[in-house]
Symmetry: C2
Subunit: 176 residues, 2 copies
Amino acid sequence: MAGYRVRAAELGDCQEIMRMIQELADYEKLPDQVKITAQDLLRDGFGETAPLFRCLVAECEDEDRMAAGPQLAGYALTYFIYSTWEGRSLYLEDLYVTPQYRGKGIGSKLMSAVAESCLSLGCARLQLSVLDWNQTAISFYKSRGARDLSQEEGWHVFRFLPDDLRRMTSKSSVPN
Amino acid sequence: MAGYRVRAAELGDCQEIMRMIQELADYEKLPDQVKITAQDLLRDGFGETAPLFRCLVAECEDEDRMAAGPQLAGYALTYFIYSTWEGRSLYLEDLYVTPQYRGKGIGSKLMSAVAESCLSLGCARLQLSVLDWNQTAISFYKSRGARDLSQEEGWHVFRFLPDDLRRMTSKSSVPN
């Protein structure tokens, strides 16, 4: 049985990570929301400025098997957030395993690696968001101890888009 | 009538920001969750390593009036997040106006300044979380165009604590 290893993503993985980002958006039934490209990932995660995210990827250790299917089996993308209650924390933006590679414990391996880097980076919390109908993901996280803060404490996520921001900026020049 | 200015927070503001962080936690009925100190803010936002957050503060332009009450009137604390759909974004962790200074448009001024920095930093989105019973905050953000993504798309916030992370790490050394 082929083994799988988890390693830090490299420059050359961006195209494959982008393929999986789109697959995840399709799965989440929000396929049109993906606006970035592999070039953006390259610049933002592996460019000359401080990286805006960290990415782990899973790959098959059996090179023949890898040649037959997609090159990467999964990815986990995280970045620092800051809690004014507990300080430096980590956010898990995406954890995904590509369909051909499911049922092999790759999600668990990625999750453990994320937990490990969270602790080694001195983060107090690991936070993430899940769609309420995505019971597979909810069970996966809950079985590992995650608490649903939207349910328990009532936190709702809000978002402003650029048009909202521009309106607020032009308002700010009017005396109030 | 006294005016209020918004400026970038400085090292010397940490004690006052910490006072307002606690006030906000009290208001959110989660007073015991504040674990950090002004020292942590100092190190994480104004230390030798890359700052983990940005902070804007509001203060009264009338020095006599300031001397009578708390030194700072409000604050807005943000940091970069990364959307795998839209790229670099900003997260508004806290926006708060201290009780003595409410009803003077300071919240709007802070919000406009946040919107401005969001745009100038090239961020696609500004995101934040609000407690479902906090109608004052919800109206404030909605009237400026924010959408409730928990309601519209069903996003729930989940959190792992260090004990969960440690359990996952020890599991990962067992072959699976």
